[in-house]
Symmetry: D2
Subunit: 335 residues, 4 copies
């Protein structure tokens, strides 16, 4: 088990997927200890600062990478297993933005009415109790929330020579902002260029479904990931797997089209794994599927479609790569 380390210097962060030279090259099966910055680039130091003033728009959401995975070829599937995701600082930060989030006019849902107040919350992170403390800004309300760390942004170089801003999730992954991208989960991404060119960032100490205000508990992270390559099996959209569920995603607007993409993909995946025809698989997904929102605030919205693995009986996705990466993660933890 080769273990790499990636700790980018400030000037090494990148802000697009695609067209960026790799910072690190690894082999399928390797583990990487990677540190990521928060979505504000670490520039917000107090709840009295305004993120929109201290962080230029084009420098929001820095990602660590790209990581080149040797042998990954166009048409393969890149498996990224989240071994651990641990907040790196004593506080996480959340904020509203004047023109970002689901409940205010934005650049995409343009209006001429006034925008939202920009307000910042600092949460104390306590790794011991595994909690973050929320404190209201205009009253005394205070409550401790369980940590549930995840990466909002994980993706590869897009197909067809595109370079996409880190904030826009699409077929290459990116800023999907799903709480499902937590430790213990494997994310499947399409390989669109040789080496795949994986980058990740935008850690959240926790996040509600939909990320309605536009930010989670934004947190620099010390994470460990394991990567592998599944030959062939070209993916249309990112998928996830944990011990209990297979999951499909779709990232587009309007939200029903994100739902459609994720559900159609899950139907197709269930059909492949069970041998049922499309309509029978559609029926099973209709009755057993879960459909949580991931984000309803980014330039593309993301829906997740989940099917419990017990309904698939003995079928295993991608030759059991999730199970093998899970074992590697346990081995890493035992060292």
């Amino acid at each position: 088990m080769a273990i790499h380390s990636l700790t980018p210097t400030p000037d090494q962060y990148s802000y697009v997927f695609g067209g960026v030279d790799p910072l690190l090259s690894v082999k399928p099966g390797d583990l990487i200890e990677v540190s990521t910055e928060d979505c504000y680039g670490g520039r917000v130091h107090s709840p009295d600062e305004r993120p929109s003033e201290v962080v230029p728009f084009s420098e929001l959401n820095p990602v660590s990478g790209p990581i080149e995975v040797e042998g990954a070829e166009v048409g393969d599937v890149l498996a990224v297993h989240f071994v651990s995701i641990v907040p790196a600082r004593a506080h996480a930060i959340s904020s509203t933005f004047p023109h970002f989030g689901a409940l205010t006019p934005t650049h995409e849902t343009a209006m001429i009415s006034g925008a939202l107040e920009e307000r910042v919350w600092f949460y104390d992170i306590d790794l011991e109790s595994w909690t973050a403390t929320f404190r209201a800004r205009r009253s005394d309300y205070e409550v401790s929330l369980p940590l549930d760390p995840m990466h909002g942004t994980v993706g590869v170089a897009p197909a067809s020579g595109e370079s996409r801003l880190v904030v826009t999730p699409s077929t290459h992954g990116g800023n999907m902002d799903t709480p499902e991208a937590r430790a213990g989960t494997t994310l499947y991404l399409p390989v669109n260029v040789p080496g795949a060119m994986l980058s990740l960032g935008d850690g959240h100490a926790r996040q509600g479904e939909g990320e309605v205000c536009g930010t989670g508990l934004e947190s620099a992270m010390n994470s460990v990931i394991a990567v592998d390559v599944v030959k062939g099996g070209a993916l249309a959209w990112p998928r996830l797997e944990n011990d209990d569920y297979i999951m499909s995603t779709g990232s587009i607007r309007p939200l029903e089209d994100a739902y459609r993409i994720s559900q159609a993909d899950l139907v197709s995946w269930a059909s492949d794994l069970t041998g049922m025809d499309t309509l029978d698989a559609y029926q099973l997904v209709s009755q057993l599927g879960l459909a949580p929102a991931a984000n309803v605030c980014d330039p593309n919205y993301t829906m997740v479609a989940k099917l419990p693995k017990w309904s698939l009986k003995s079928a295993e996705a991608y030759g059991g790569v999730h199970r093998r990466l899970r074992s590697a993660a346990e081995e890493y933890a035992r060292r």
Copy 2:
């Protein structure tokens, strides 16, 4: 504890909310044992029949009611607690329709390409093991699913003199098709006319989130509900409460607007219950909220927004009516 019974004769079912004379009149605090027909009006007797041929469109989704709740006045909140929901027949039925469901052209998402095959599935219902058995129609795949009975359609007479088809959920409730409407849950509906005029039907032995194919495990039900009235507190959209969550809903298209309505309503509710201002409540909901799809197939789509009650500390919604109805349900069960 007064216990009423409502078993409509075939000609007593109704197909609109609003403008219908009540079948029963009850008092706040009463329980009603009510039987409901399946969405096919009980007319599909074999998986080889085509629902679109044996059920006229205007007779889909019959509801039992209206039930007049004495003393309910315009501007009040009607609380409907689901005491128990039990499948009434040995099988539940699901089907695709040529122009219904999220993954086929419909009358609303009109296309000129071909529609989906109409296929019917019969599930064996086993109340003993509390399961329904799924059998693929074109292969041998078979799997047992846990029952999770719910009512897809529960609503009251709309405001402003409207009468709405039972299939279209809106501010008056109706065909929201959320799996959250299960036993143990209280549904809050606005009172738009004197007596509220509650109707319900469309039982599902279980249903996935989004009801992607357009139908759940459609099942006639023997249900028990308890009703109460909260004076004042005018609701904009239906809300739900169970022992763990408060929940808001929104029913409209596109799906992001259903999400927006449900989230904005939950923010407002959380603000009312905690005394926090809107932006602080927005922040809490953003980090703790769940956002599952209810239906993405009906003429209006429904999203649900959920907040765990522990985050509200000692605050109780609507003066604890859920807790009291829960007790009444337990008393009923102990008889």
Copy 3:
């Protein structure tokens, strides 16, 4: 040529389509001189009043009718020809509303950010020069606009026993708010109940496409219409015809679904009229069709799809009823 007159008293206006007793009964081929009130119910008397304060929500947009058309049976098509539409007062009124219009949060696109300022504009109407004068409220800008009078709301009783608020356009017509509903145009509506039960109102002295702020030049109108019945030919959605175009409409959200409905209907109509198959008609509509927005502010949005009649050669819609009603209109004008 029988000529009727309908001038409702204030208490005779109605606010829903469906379930209302007729004010007048006419025969196919008859003309009706009808007066309609403005969308504010005539209650706004100065630009310094706030419509939201002087008009209760449920009394916005009064319509004149229903007019029962004898012999109209379920499944027929009602043809409504606009003979003339003339502003009845010396001024027309427009306004923003805090939660209405495309560029502010609304009850449907719910947000927690602030709503728009409510502002009122009075336009001087000059029938001589056929203009309305716009005057900015916060500067000296002033410009005369040509009148182009139309009815925003024209519809019949809905199918299946529904009653719908006048503000929501759907398959029964209603508040489509298309500038195409001007004098010289024939509107085709489905007959859903015996007698059709036609109502109209919401005159605009003119209106931009999309009615982006939520109101046109709202104006009481003295209008003349001619009605006829085409036996059979059941319509799915309202259609229009003038001397140059056939036009289909769709009213739903999101706007692309309104576009899809209107385009699919126009393809079907063009196929019927030319004998081409669906794909060939699709091709013709794709290259010649116009697609203006009607409204993007009401509870359902409306798109119009237009095809020039020269491309249909000698084919005539509905047996030439538009041509015949046009002649009757000319005869009326010559009296």
Copy 4:
């Protein structure tokens, strides 16, 4: 008046906006005679071929360029005037695609029902009569359509280091597919990188509004454009101007958000040109504006918002650059 010529060789076409080296460098005020290939890359030679089989997806819609405009700096506005657009071949081609167009399931509006038949139409182009002849494929219907040539795809390098596929319109322009991009019109694009890096292609001999089937009369073109640079005045979205209208665009999903963007931008532009405040400008646009669909088939949909220039009185956009380029075009024509 410097006149350049750009006739790319087959390997010189590009398929993304951004990150491509220029083929030509010109100065503000220069004219360019440019030839463009059709969206099929010239590979469809008969109505019996299937475009999806003879053209790889990543080679659809080649563009000619980039053209570097010297002195164009980030934050400037690039003015592109269409002097003339003339079909280069004796036929134009249109087709359906199985998963493209507004009335069939697509990769974005994913469904599991069957896709559309792929059918191809060849139109005879007659420059003398300025017509294209449509012939139905499954019947004898035939009709001549007036030519109205335009470029569907015109754009510059995107901001923030993005490279975008040519098929996706956004803030940088691209595949907006509006019939307004015809000779006599000036298109304004934001300058996001030094030199702007203008590319164009996707000529249509004509196209309906919305391009509902996904293609216009696809045609290689011999075009002449004139370019100029307006210093400062940073544009959020592409705008257009002809002798009669100023026009704003928005390209996004859902279609109402494209409408919102285009209308909000037009309100802002009208406010700038007349000195009215935002709400007064909103009122004027609401009553005078036109709102045709451009495309409802590409990965982002495009709406256009138009305001007649007479309503702006003497105000001239961008210091009269349209008028000056119009004069240069006339001078070119007189040579």
